[in-house]
């Protein structure tokens, strides 16, 4: 059964139809790659899924419920978490606070309990602190827990952003160009991390990436976008040999 499914999804900016009739679904534990030439509308798909933009047509079903019209934070709380193409960390906050912020909606203590350090504050903060450290350990970031996020090296910032997204307990994880700017060793390491996340956290992963080795290497299923429409989908093998995909990337015809 699919966790996330879009039907007939589309958006028009003024007269420009940026996305049209986008239809795909993703199952628990599946890794899907979203590829396409620059400007094809990949990030726009993410922005529609997380209500940064409101779709002008179509539905998005998370566990069978339509989430179109819900606010971004509600969608996150319902189980879709994302990272950004240009890393967006809470730069001046510590590494561990970045993760704890994402765990906010899993804590229940009241404003007064926080102000006056009531038992519910102590109990929940202790639990969250433990979980945050565990999560950081998965990404080998625990040693940096009390550093400012802005002081992390680039590759680790990307990892922290993934850790932060995972901290919201998502069912679906959206990764926007996770390997951008990484060298081959870092990319290899990242591939392993993503596989590990899938196995450990049982999430479905939808990722945008330009590095074809990366996409072909870990995605079970690939969706190809061009000019706002899906032009092909299937396994790495199927997509690779599809003439429409080749034409989209090489131009011509």
């Amino acid at each position: 059964m699919s966790v996330l499914e879009t039907k007939n999804l589309g958006i028009a900016f003024g007269g420009l139809q940026a996305l049209e009739d986008v239809h795909f679904s993703i199952n628990e534990g599946e890794i899907i790659g979203l590829i396409g030439p620059n400007g094809a509308g990949k990030t726009t798909v993410f922005n529609l899924l997380t209500d940064v933009y409101m779709p002008t047509q179509g539905v998005i079903e998370l566990d069978g419920n339509n989430i179109v019209g819900k606010k971004t934070y509600q969608i996150t709380q319902n189980g879709i978490a994302r990272t950004f193409q240009n890393i967006r960390l809470f730069k001046d906050a510590t590494v561990i606070d970045n993760v704890k912020i994402a765990m906010n909606s899993q804590m229940k203590y009241s404003v007064l309990a926080g102000m006056f350090r009531l038992p519910s504050y102590r109990r929940e903060e202790k639990a969250v602190s433990k979980r945050a450290h565990e999560l950081l350990e998965v990404f080998n970031l625990d040693g940096y827990a009390h550093d400012s996020a802005k002081n992390l090296p680039y590759g680790k910032q990307r990892k922290l952003e993934i850790a932060r997204a995972l901290a919201t307990n998502p069912k679906v994880l959206l990764l926007d160009e996770p390997a951008a700017g990484m060298n081959p060793t870092e990319t290899m390491e990242l591939m392993e991390t993503i596989m590990l996340i899938r196995d450990k956290f049982h999430v479905a992963i939808l990722l945008i990436e330009h590095d074809m080795n990366f996409v072909m290497g870990i995605c079970e299923h690939i969706v190809v976008l061009d000019y706002g429409r899906i032009i092909a989908e299937g396994t790495a093998e199927e997509v690779r040999s599809d003439p429409k995909v080749i034409a989209a990337y090489l131009g011509g015809e």
Partner: protein, 293 residues
């Protein structure tokens, strides 16, 4: 008929707001700073006129010219001394704002020390017979205010759209980094913008002195605040916007004075601002920008 003459009066006062608002708007457009000291430049301009005409007894044209040049230079100097270091280092914008507030306090107190805190009266500067339009009588100062403000705005618009320095200003306000890479001297452009803005404010000062023949060291505070409201109302960064905001504010003020109560004028002015911002967050003629994700 009374209603129309109130509107004309409002346009007259609005013209002064508009001229001052232009300075706020241009400076904000280029460095995103609410230049709180801009209102006090009006005061400086007014005192220069006072010194030249009353204390030195020199002719009027010299006073106008002197005031505009003095304020232009003062504007550039303030930018160089108080803001430049922060602008270059990309300091937090709020530090810049506090510095501007500091400059404002400095100017007010400096002039209080130099001239005393009491009001000085100004002689009549320009007077010709009131204009008769149907049954309406329009005072000479109102005619002058509207005329000067329209001419100034047209000139400024021409400069910004046609002249080289105007293009540099637009480029710098669009993207200072890219402008620099294209070979534009952004430092000079920014200083020039402060200079032009201050010169316009001093033109406003001359008109102000002609309309209300009294000056005080703290006169720039409220006047500046209202001109700033005018700039935001019209859409900050837009020249026609600043003018529109200025006129609207003047008319609103004049009508409130006449038909509601002069005690509530400021509340009405700010009320209009709030409503406009809530409906059109970038002001009447401003452009809405959205952060790219």
């Amino acid at each position: 008929m009374d209603f129309f003459s109130q509107i004309i009066n409002g346009l007259g006062i609005g013209s002064i707001y508009a001229l001052v608002a232009l300075g706020y708007s241009m400076v904000y457009g280029i460095v995103q700073l609410i230049n709180f000291a801009h209102g006090d430049i009006i005061m400086v301009g007014a005192y220069v006129v006072f010194v030249i005409i009353v204390m030195m007894g020199l002719p009027l044209w010299l006073a106008v010219l002197g005031s505009i040049i003095f304020c232009g230079i003062a504007g550039v100097l303030i930018e160089r001394i108080a803001y430049h270091r922060l602008l270059v280092r990309d300091a937090p914008r709020i530090s810049l704002l506090i510095t501007a507030i500091g400059v404002s306090i400095f100017l007010q107190n400096l002039f209080q020390l130099l001239f005393g805190s009491d009001a000085k009266s100004m002689p009549r500067m320009f007077s010709f017979s009131p204009l008769q339009l149907g049954g309406l009588q329009i005072t000479s100062s109102t005619v002058l205010n509207i005329l000067v403000s329209v001419i100034m705005m047209a000139g400024l618009q021409l400069m910004v759209s046609k002249m080289k320095i105007g293009k540099a200003m637009r480029a710098t306000s669009e993207d200072a980094g890219a402008a620099k890479l294209m070979g534009i001297n952004t430092n000079t452009t920014i200083a020039f913008t402060f200079g032009i803005g201050s010169a316009l404010a001093s033109a406003g000062a001359v008109l102000y002195c002609n309309t209300y023949p009294q000056i005080k060291p703290i006169m720039g505070g409220l006047l500046g605040l209202k001109a700033f409201v005018a700039a935001v109302l019209g859409g900050i960064g837009s020249i026609p916007g600043a003018m529109l905001g200025g006129y609207l504010l003047g008319v609103a003020e004049s009508l409130t004075n006449a038909y509601i109560s002069s005690n509530l004028t400021d509340a009405v002015v700010f009320g209009i601002l709030i409503i406009v911002l809530l409906v059109k967050p970038a002001g009447l003629l401003g452009k809405n920008t959205r952060e790219k994700v």
